[in-house]
Each structure stands twice: as C-alpha cells, then as structure tokens.
Symmetry: C2
Subunit: 217 residues, 2 copies
C-alpha cells in the first residue's frame, strides 16, 4: 500500500467525494462508518470527521444517532441551485476575467476542442467542469469559489443524468455558448462574458426543468 499523504480524515473525505462525484455512490445510498473504515484501513474516527467535512460540502446528509446518506435532491432544490449559480458565477467571472492572460484564453479554446471531440459522458463532465474553472482560474475570492464549487458538487449527479439525455443531439448549443464566452473574454468585454455565462446556466436550468423524470429516484 502506498504511503498515506496528509491527514487521514482529509484523505477519507477526498476518496469518498471522488466516489460520489464519479457516480459510484448514488444519492440516497447509506454510508456505514465501520465498512468505510475497514475498507480504507483506518479507524472509524477519521471516517466520522470525513463525513462531517462532506456534510459541510453538501455531499452527505447526517442524522444524529441514525446515520449518513449520500445527499439526494428533488427537482425544486436542483432548480434553485441553478438559480444561485446564475447569480454567483457571473460575479466569480468578474473577479477572474481582468486577470486572465492570452495563454489562459488559448487554453480554453483547446479545452473546447476537446469537448467537441468527445463522445463519452464521463469525459464530457470532466472537461466541461475544467473549462468553466479555467474561466475562474484567476479569481482571488476563495469563499465565493467555495460556494460555487459546492453547487457543482451537489448537482453533479443530476448533471450526469441530464447530459446522458441531451448532449448528443443538442451538444452544438453548449459549444456555441462556450465559444461566445471565450470570445467575449478574448475581446476583454467582461460584461458580455458575464451575460453569456448567465444565459448558459439559465438555459441549462430551463432544459433541466423539462425532465422531471430525472428526479423520481
């Protein structure tokens, strides 16, 4: 076994987060402290602390004297998450955009090339997220970024389900929005960039609302 780097509770939290985001632990799944502890070769204490960490990120729901479950959302909560993103991500963009270099923006176009070339849903999710965070790369607003990151985390599972349905036949819309966003950044037109981003998130929210069946689980 490899050398455990860093604090155990953080390692456990990272591992658990990875499993949830990758879809290997579905929303609603119960998490038993003993099982995880044994599986990760540690005691239950770091697991308990890891669950607290992930609860604060919204990925896990705790009930006192009862247990822990992977957080699940209903359609209403998910829609609200998107409304929050609509308001916060343009602000985060505003914090980052003035500091982006030409190279930063070139990298975005390359990422978008990759997105347009990819056919696998999991790969799309990774690249799409990477592109958005390339836009925010130069922010100096840790607290705001943490809130936004959390929203991406908690909606990841539903984004996956939605992407499975939609990205093949309507993928060009996302591509168009991404290219418009990148171009506005290149032109240093930060107001337009913020507007495009807001529309991009808003359109996704509206599309998502057309598929309530994604939440009947």
């Amino acid at each position: 076994m490899s050398v455990p780097a860093g604090v155990a509770s953080q390692r456990v939290a990272d591992e658990l987060r990875e499993r949830i985001l990758a879809g290997r632990l579905a929303p609603g799944t119960r998490i038993i402290q003993d099982e995880l502890a044994e599986e990760l070769n540690t005691s239950r204490l770091p697991v308990r602390e890891a669950l607290r960490i992930l609860e604060s990120r919204g990925l896990v729901t705790l009930r006192a004297n009862s247990g822990a479950w992977v957080t699940s959302m209903d359609a209403r909560e998910c829609e609200l998450s998107y409304k929050i993103r609509e308001r916060l991500e343009p602000l985060l963009l505003t914090e980052s955009a003035p500091r982006l270099s030409e190279e930063d923006i070139d990298a975005m176009d390359e990422l978008q090339d990759g997105i347009e070339a990819c056919t696998d849903v999991e790969e799309f999710l990774v690249l799409d997220r990477r592109l958005h965070w390339a836009v925010y790369r130069r922010h100096e607003a840790e607290d705001l970024a943490a809130i936004v990151n959390r929203l991406w985390d908690t909606t990841q599972h539903y984004r996956r389900a939605f992407t499975r349905l939609a990205f093949e036949r309507r993928g060009w819309i996302i591509g168009a929005e991404h290219r418009l966003l990148i171009q506005a950044l290149r032109d240093r037109d930060h107001t337009s960039a913020a507007r495009v981003l807001e529309l991009h998130i808003r359109r996704t929210r509206v599309e998502l609302a057309k598929h309530p069946e994604l939440f009947t689980g």
Copy 2:
C-alpha cells in the same frame, strides 16, 4: 448539572457560535481543544467535531496539526461577502415574499418600531437580523438560506464594528430602507421589494468600504 439536550458536539458548536457572534471571542483568537473541553465538561472529541462544524460555517479556521482560530476577514473578503449577499438575498426574498401573510408583514413593522427605539448596538444587531429573517420566513429554500445565514455569521463582527460607528448619526437611512421594503411587500410588489433590498445591502457595502480602519486588527 442540567440535562444535556441533544448531541454533545452540536451543543458545543452552538455555544461556541454564540460566543463568537456575541463578540466575546474576537477574530484571530486561538481556540485550544483542551480548554474548551474542560470548560464545557466534556471530552475533547465533541470539541473537535464542533470545530469541524464551525469551520464549515466559516466561523473558525483550522490548520492541520496546528490548531483552530476564530476566522478573521480582511476588507476585500468582507466586501465580497456583501456582493454575494446583494445577489442572493433578493433571490431568497423572491422565494419567501409570495407566501408572506398580512400578519407576517405587521410583525415586520413592529420589529422596525423596536429598531428605531433602540440605542444599544447589541440590541440593534439582534433586531436587525431578526427583521431581515422575518422577510425570509416563508422561504422553502434551505440550501440558499444556509448560504445567506453563513454570510451573516461570518460578517457579524464587522457589522458590529461598523454599527458602532454609523448607526447613531445615520440610523434614519436604514429605517427608511426598511420601511420601503416592508411597504413594497405589503403592496405585493415583489420586484420593488427585491430592488430595495439589493440597494440596502449595496449602500451598506459602499459605506463599509469607507472605513478600512475596521480591518486593521
């Protein structure tokens, strides 16, 4: 000794939060697990979990293998918190306003009477917060409310310092804004209500920016 209600770690977290929000624990203060545990007649374990809980609420800052401190902000972070509030609280108002009853709105006017009558800073902070949450009372958006609540918590200390400076000579502005907000809600003009709220927060942010000396501690 009285019967301990609920889970110990939550009790410790509540007590610690209360101390920080009441200003009895200043930003930057170090928190030693042993001391708190002894003082609250419990072991270090609930204290550790309480620190995790409060870290997730942004009230304490943890450093691995080092310790815990009451979180402190610089002017930039505080200003950003207000910008986030400017965007999120109107949204939270929108979620609540349509469901507010006449009695709810009457209660707001009564709260505002109390605010205009009060001369003590601590009392003002309590009543002001209570009034704002009276506006949001009928929301069904727990996640959004949690984010906003957290922002109020983390900026509480700076709001106190600012209030000490400003509320006596310019208190009438806050009163005017509050009354306008309540009236818009009474008229069921939710768009205006959201705008007034946004302006109210924005004006406070701009005022606060004039007092950088509040952050040189």
